[in-house]
Symmetry: C2
Subunit: 129 residues, 2 copies
Amino acid sequence: MTSLPERYEAYLDCLNAQEWGRLGEYVADGVHHNGRKLGLSGYREMLIGNYEEIPDLSFKAGLLVCEAPRVAARLDFDCTPKGDFLGVPANGRRVSFAENVFYEFRGGKIVTVWSVVDKAGIEEQLKAG
Amino acid sequence: MTSLPERYEAYLDCLNAQEWGRLGEYVADGVHHNGRKLGLSGYREMLIGNYEEIPDLSFKAGLLVCEAPRVAARLDFDCTPKGDFLGVPANGRRVSFAENVFYEFRGGKIVTVWSVVDKAGIEEQLKAG
């Protein structure tokens, strides 16, 4: 049995490899995201959409706090959205930002996600640029 | 010795009671907030400013993930900012939103805070209202 941090890092590896066929090893069929039931297929579509908008997207946990069955991660992004990003016109400009996100695992799979992306920080950078 | 979750809840109680003279029991002199060194006095000023802008502010952890020396909390707010809030004109309208925040403790006191407030969620609610 792998530890919860190992399990979570393997999930991030799966995202970074864009191995969508393996997403169901880490994400439960009935997964909820920010209070909405997306399900595995909706969750996969969301991630594929993220990569379409941000081709150089890469997931890296700068902070990881684990207390089973929960993981909290601060994800550090440094990437180049093609067009609008969270309503901010990025248009190919590089931007660094964080996402603070909580996950609940059941049976080794993510069942619930509560995510907040630092929109204010993105706005500040892209206005300054 | 109290546990880290108990220590964190006592910190929230101190904020909710606005007992600013006791803040130094929970927050270190050289505290950093989102990469900036605020120090205890700057941190206190930030919180007092929050209460001036949002008189009915109340701190409540909906999710708490603890792995010493770190605490991750999802704070659920339901409050009524007087004027602008994060650049959004709230003007006395009620708004519910989350803050996902990481703390690092040293010697029982908070030394580092990494916070993201759900600005996109606030904008969505106040546009709809």
